[in-house]
Amino acid sequence: MSTPLQTEPRPEPHGNPEPAREPARGALARRAAGRRRGRTLGFHLAAWALAVVVLYPGVWMVLSAFRPSSEIIGQTGLIPDQTTLDNFRKAFEGIGGISFWTFFGNSLFLAAASVIGVCLSCSVSAYAFARIDFPGRSVFFALMIGTLLLPFHVVIIPQFIMFNEIGWTDSYLPLLVGKFLATDAFFVFLMVQFMRNLPRELDESARIDGAGHPRIFVSIVLPLMRPVLATASIFAFIWSWNDFLAPLIYLRSPDSYPLPLMLRQYTDQTTTSDYGAQMAAAVLALVPVLIFFVLFQRYIVEGVATQGLKG
């Protein structure tokens, strides 16, 4: 409680500001410091109370997964009376004779392929928007921004008919082809904004040296894009990992299901008495997302912040 006293974000160095003040204002300054300390305390109390509320569902979920199924319902408290690993054992067994790891592998494959698709297609398209001057660019850019606001409902039905006609249903192709064709305008937009802030002198001098656009893109722009590619990868991974509607529409055979569809089977087939296995499976499905979040929280939160400011 000694350093974070400043309420005002002034560029003063950290530490106690009082000694710098004139002695005549000592009492006043002390009272002000006391008030500031009180406010800091209040801030931490409020933030902590909020954190408890926000985290409660997550913590409750994890702890419930260790509870015997019969104990989950009717238990308000967090700390289980009895703990058990039965739920996890059952969750790992999977459902309908298909192991948890099959679903996990499917989810992982889909997420990894989405990341590759998004990084390749969106970076190339963003380069065209940010660095090449050609007729029609501003029209296409406006259309791209427009798709950001378009409800997906209007495209899923014809897409379904189309993919059904060419025989792609019950394969991963309908889920992935859009990722390789930069249909996630959010990522294109994020990358365009990032590229616009890269110094142009770099490409200009490379151009004088005789490099064409492919060369400039691969050896100058792409290496500098590492931070934005990281942000896009994280989001592409998590969105694909959590996606429910598209797999629900396109996938038929249970052994190709990703985790969200496995979880849905749990809620369909098991009665309330098997809450435990449901909870354990739900926790297991979130683990990769939470690991990602803990590792890359800065990239994630900064990515969201810039998206809002430049929008």
């Binding site: 400043q6 931490h44 909020l50 954190a51 985290l55 569902p57 979920m61 319902i73 308000t76 390749l120 969106c122 398209s125 090449i132 660019r137 296409f140 259309l143 791209m144 798709t147 606001l149 378009l150 409800p151 409902h153 209007v154 495209v155 039905i157 014809p158 897409q159 008919i161 059904n164 082809v177 930069a182 249909t183 294109v188 002198e201 200009e204 001098s205 004088i208 040296d209 656009h213 990992w241 959590n242 429910f244 629900l248 529409i249 969200p260 979880l263 749990y266 809620t267 809450y275 909870m279 499905a285 979130l286 997302v289 979040f293 929280q297 994630i300 939160v301 969201v304 809002g308 400011l309």
Partner: protein, 316 residues
């Protein structure tokens, strides 16, 4: 790369290479080559399907039976479809009630966190976490368990004198439960508000304080106007997002939208009609209706924005 900035600035005078017109065509060709993935995706997966569903909306298309032109029949039937009207009501209530609460929570917490106190970054990440997982099936399962009969929320409610029975089975409480799930994900707009708050010049507050403006006045006269572009962005984004809720409603109601249609969100009903019953023409009509409504709402937001969104002239 080895050239110094001076050399590159001097360069345009004696630019080597082909004459201007040939350079332009080369640029154009390169532009379209680089744009190709997006352009292909846009034509094949966005623009084409949009036109196709505009046509489908006037047919009774079914994946097996095919379909034929039926004019405005789908739209006529929509207006007489009680389940459709329920889904509109549920979704509209969810958007109109949930979005302001979520944004108010986001702004409140952002203002609480907007200081250079230690731990601010940690709180910010912590509060953001629900936004990342909130739409997942896992969270829907937890939410259902928490709000079920004898779940923890039910117990807390009973403690405060509410009649028990759980929220999941009570048609009056399911929508509040879904709104709470949305409000729980206040982190994403909060992060954006926080970034906006950091851009407000601190001198403004100091000047206002010198002039004797209290906290409420400072909030309404400085914070809110300076933040209005960010507020506008959040409002548009969150409103549109709220129309798209699907996985949580599907899981919590077992795909049915019950009890008594109280969780029959627009997307869920569209799914039931289009993919459950194969009435793709009918679902396409619903989809286009939604596009038109979203378009109108966005237009209203943008048209009215000039009266309440303040853009500082210096264009920071």
């Amino acid at each position: 790369m080895s050239l110094s900035p001076q050399a590159s600035r001097a360069a345009p005078k004696r630019r080597p290479g082909p004459p201007r017109s040939r350079r332009r065509t080369a640029e154009t060709r390169a532009g379209y080559a680089f744009l190709a993935p997006w352009l292909l995706g846009f034509l094949a997966l966005t623009a084409g399907p949009m036109i196709a569903s505009a046509y489908l909306a006037f047919t009774d298309y079914h994946p097996i039976r095919g379909g034929s032109w039926i004019g405005l029949d789908n739209f006529d039937r929509l207006l007489d479809d009680p389940r459709f009207l329920d889904s509109v009501e549920v979704t509209a209530t969810y958007a109109v009630v949930g979005t302001p609460i979520k944004l108010a929570a986001a702004l409140g917490v952002a203002m609480l966190l907007n200081s250079r106190r230690r731990g601010q970054g940690t709180y910010r990440s912590l509060f953001y976490a629900p936004s990342l997982i909130g739409a997942s099936v896992s969270v829907a399962i937890v939410w259902k368990a928490m709000f079920n009969d004898q779940g923890i929320v039910d117990d807390i409610g009973r403690f405060f004198g509410m009649s028990g029975g759980g929220w999941v089975g009570n048609p009056d409480l399911t929508l509040p439960m879904m709104i709470l799930l949305a409000v729980w994900q206040f982190g994403a707009p909060m992060v954006i508000f926080l970034a906006g708050l950091k851009q407000i010049p601190h001198e403004l507050y100091e000047a206002a304080q010198v002039d004797g403006a209290g906290p409420a006045r400072r909030f309404f006269r400085i914070t809110l106007p300076m933040l209005s572009p960010v507020l506008f962005f959040n409002l548009v984004l969150e409103t549109i997002n709220s129309f798209q809720i699907f996985a949580s409603a599907f899981i919590i109601s077992g795909g049915q939208g019950g009890p008594a249609n109280s969780t029959l969100f627009y997307t869920l009903y569209l799914y039931q009609r289009g993919f459950g019953q194969g009435q793709l023409g009918y679902a396409a009509a619903m989809a286009w209706l939604l596009v038109i409504v979203v378009g109108i709402i966005t237009l209203v937001f943008f048209r009215t924005s000039r009266y309440w969104v303040h853009y500082s002239g210096d264009g920071r």
